[in-house]
């Protein structure tokens, strides 16, 4: 019985057998110890070199580094294209852009500025948005920006422009936690000032502080975006919301002297800007709107139940 057991343990292939072979190997190896140390050192050296190389490869290359490379793979080429679109939308995505704005007009510094609509948000999508009442992927979100904030034409989901901006967003989101909003997401929500926004006071502040760059009629110039009028975002855009615009203005304007306005001043300027005319919300068809307006006029003239 005992013998049987021993045989079973020491059978070739069993754990016991392997262990006993390993011990024997150890004994012979100890005799060649000096060589083994050098081997170990070599392996350590190689491993550290590999680790260093891979770490430097893992570090995110800047856009300029990418642009300087001779050969880009498809993802990197797409990132560069996306960066170009974000910086000069009407040049690189002119097919779908409408207004004179670029993405970077709101997503400041190419979407790298916290509290200035940073673009490192790939981990947040897909998510449900009240704006269109459906679950939005990053592609849908980008298309919405073209339609509302750029007052342009909605590009198709698989258009090269949308794919490129999506790649750039992923590139910026490296290191962020998936599913959690990044630090400085969107714009800060201003605390309640206890007073209503006051557009006339906002107009005075605008003319004093903002008009230097944005123009007395909000028309903008060169890279400085128009803030109202047909060359600005339309009435469906996210910034056409006094609270949001006030947060954006307080955190980022006037450029170079940020956070110099008080909460109330930012609120007043936002209220003033959003009272000006801009292109209408494209969520409703133009023809339908026209028909409604004509119908309304007709009922005003001919209707009996309207006083």
């Amino acid at each position: 019985m005992w013998k049987h057991c021993i045989n079973a343990i020491c059978e070739p292939g069993s754990l016991q057998h392997d262990l006993s072979r390993a011990w024997a190997h150890e004994r012979t190896a100890r005799r060649r110890a000096p060589r083994r140390v050098t081997q170990l050192l070599l392996i350590l050296f190689a491993a550290s070199a590999l680790l260093g190389a891979s770490l430097s490869a893992l570090a995110r290359p800047t856009i300029d580094e990418l642009k300087a490379r001779a050969v880009l793979d498809d993802y990197e080429a797409n990132i560069v294209f996306g960066y170009n679109i974000v910086m000069e939308t009407s040049k690189y995505a002119g097919r779908y852009a409408g207004s004179s704005l670029s993405c970077t007009s709101c997503h400041l510094r190419g979407g790298t500025q916290p509290d200035g609509f940073p673009l490192n948000v790939a981990g947040v999508y897909p998510k449900w948005r009240a704006k269109n009442g459906v679950r939005n992927g990053i592609g849908m979100r980008i298309r919405d920006c073209f339609l509302y904030s750029l007052n342009g034409i909605m590009p198709p989901e698989e258009s090269p422009e949308v794919l490129a901006v999506a790649a750039y967003v992923s590139y910026l989101s490296e290191g962020e936690v998936i599913g959690r909003p990044p630090k400085g997401w969107g714009v800060p929500t201003l605390p309640d000032t206890g007073a209503d926004p006051n557009p006339p006071r906002g107009q005075a502040i605008y003319q004093r502080v903002c008009a230097v760059c944005h123009g007395a009629k909000g028309e903008g110039q060169g890279p400085v975006p128009a803030v109202w009028g047909l060359n600005s975002f339309n009435a469906g855009a996210g910034l056409n919301n006094v609270q949001k615009l006030a947060g954006f203005i307080w955190a980022n304007m006037p450029m170079g002297n940020e956070r110099s306005l008080t909460y109330q001043e930012a609120l007043d300027v936002a209220a003033f800007i959003n009272l000006q005319y801009r292109a209408f919300d494209p969520r409703e068809g133009r023809l339908k709107k026209l028909a409604e307006r004509i119908y309304h006029r007709l009922t005003l003239i001919f209707g009996k139940d309207n006083p």
Binding site: A70, L72, R95, L147, S159, G285, K288
Partner: protein, 498 residues
């Protein structure tokens, strides 16, 4: 010297041209080419501008260097092949993709110039009309298939077999198909088919107008969000879009991989142009030099990337319209090139609102136009029928470039097979046998004759070779051995040419 004469533009037609008729033909052609240029740019996967530049510069250069009323410019098969070739190497429509398309166009042009230097125009004589009709029909099917996604508002998809797409769209239409896009493309196609009966020359323009009106109505009522109609967008045209094609390491790596495809595109482009030229030579322009046309195609494609255009070739439908409108010289092509600039510039703001389902509808209409019953019906015989059928099936089931090679191989094969048939007319006068041979006598076609002659070695035979255009050494050896055989058995063989 003759090479130099083929290279330089020949402007001798300048004085003899009837400029009024040429101008009318040119303006009509320009109206026709604009929807096609946008469509073919979409097919090849680049921005619509490049198609319009192709319609301007490739057309202008090929008319200037050529000597025929053939209208060059964007071409269906060439555009499809350019897009398919570049697709594995870069994201469709990205800047790298566009660069690769332009570099590929340059190489295609250079290969065509090489073919010109090697006097390749002679070769295209063996391209049988059945194969050309087969290629056209196959491309027509490809066009209709690739119009499907745009027409129904689907995302682009790649399937192994062309019918898979129809199956997918049909089975899950409730989830996939955008009803508004389907309506617009359906209206465009229906309008085109109805207008085609009475308005053959420019029914596509009418279809585009009607489709755009319906699309604009839907877009206006529902807005972009609810209708999800895809629009063409801004087309920014520059007057002189000069561009130096970038050839970096990436482009070299790409070119290394695609030489066979580039050759297929070059051959396909030339084949279409030369079939048109051959047709023209019979109908309108007698002093047409095929070599000169080959050079014109090659140089216009090689120069196209320098004007931000992709490669093109002669166009069947636009050339036939130009001929109907009275074009007899290259003047119509030159007028058309300038007219495209004027019309595209004037229509620019309107083109922004052109719905893409209308473009898909135009693609379907062009595809239907390429499958022409009146061209296919005469092919239903024992030689042309199989060539046509094999070409079409190879193109729609395998791929376009393979299909072209198959078409060449099959048309040469059937030609050889038909050439190796000889007819024997046997008649007897008393004990004398009289055999009249018609057909080429060479090693591949001797079996039948040898069997007949060896059936009875004792007869006296008169062999009439008067209708034999060609007789090779193996045939002569056969006659010699049979004569010797007959002498042994008391027969006789006289070879005459009556």
């Amino acid at each position: 010297m003759s090479l130099l004469r083929e290279m330089l533009p020949d402007l001798s037609w300048w004085r003899s041209a009837d400029w009024r008729r040429e101008a009318i033909a040119g303006w009509t052609g320009a109206l026709l080419v604009i929807p096609q240029a946008i469509t073919f740019a979409y097919l090849s996967g680049v921005a619509p501008e490049y198609g319009l530049y192709c319609a301007v510069f490739v057309a202008l250069l090929s008319s200037l260097f050529g000597n025929s009323p053939m209208v060059g410019g964007p071409n269906t098969a060439v555009a499809i092949l350019l897009g398919l070739t570049v697709l594995p190497f870069a994201g469709r429509g990205s800047p790298l993709f566009t660069e690769l398309v332009l570099v590929l166009s340059l190489v295609v042009g250079l290969i065509q110039i090489l073919i010109w230097l090697l006097r390749g125009a002679e070769l295209f004589r063996y391209f049988s009309p059945a194969a050309i009709t087969g290629i056209k029909a196959g491309v027509g099917v490809l066009l209709i298939t690739s119009a499907l996604e745009g027409g129904l508002g689907l995302s682009p998809m790649t399937t192994n077999f062309f019918y898979e797409k129809f199956y997918i769209a049909l089975v899950s239409w409730q989830d996939l198909v955008n009803p508004y896009a389907a309506t617009v493309s359906g209206v465009t196609i229906a309008a085109g088919l109805l207008l085609k009966k009475n308005w053959l020359r420019s029914y596509i323009i009418g279809a585009v107008l009607i489709g755009t009106l319906v699309g604009a109505g839907i877009y206006g009522l529902l807005g972009p969000v609810q209708s999800q109609l895809e629009l063409l967008g801004h087309v920014t045209l520059r007057g002189l879009p000069l561009n130096v094609p970038r050839i970096g390491p990436q482009h070299w790596l790409f070119l290394e991989q695609v030489v066979p495809q580039a050759m297929a595109i070059a051959v396909l482009g030339l084949a279409q142009s030369l079939v048109i030229a051959r047709d023209l030579k019979a109908r309108a322009a007698r002093d047409l030099d095929l070599h000169k046309e080959v050079f014109a195609q090659g140089i216009s494609n090689a120069l196209s990337p320098f004007f931000s255009a992709f490669a093109g070739s002669g166009s069947f439908n636009r050339t036939s319209v130009a001929l109907e409108m009275g074009a007899r010289t290259p003047a119509s092509g030159i007028v058309a090139a300038f007219a495209v600039v004027v019309i595209a510039w004037a229509l620019g703001p309107l083109l922004v609102w052109l719905p893409m389902p209308v473009i898909a509808g135009v693609m379907t209409l062009v595809g239907i136009g390429m499958i022409q019953g009146k061209e296919i019906r005469p092919l239903l015989n024992r030689v042309d029928g199989p060539v046509f059928l094999i070409t079409v099936l190879a193109i729609i089931f395998v791929s376009l470039e393979i299909g072209i090679l198959v078409a060449v191989a099959v048309s040469v094969g059937f030609f050889v097979a038909s050439a190796s048939k000889v007819k024997l007319a046997v008649s007897r006068e008393g004990d004398k046998e009289h055999i009249v041979v018609s057909g080429n006598l060479f090693y591949a076609s001797l079996d039948h004759l040898a069997k007949q002659l060896r059936s009875d070695p004792s007869t006296r035979t008169i062999l009439d070779l008067g209708r034999v255009p060609y007789c090779d050494a193996s045939a002569l050896a056969l006659f010699e051995s049979i004569r010797r055989e007959r002498q042994l058995y008391g027969g006789q063989l006289d070879v005459v040419a009556a």
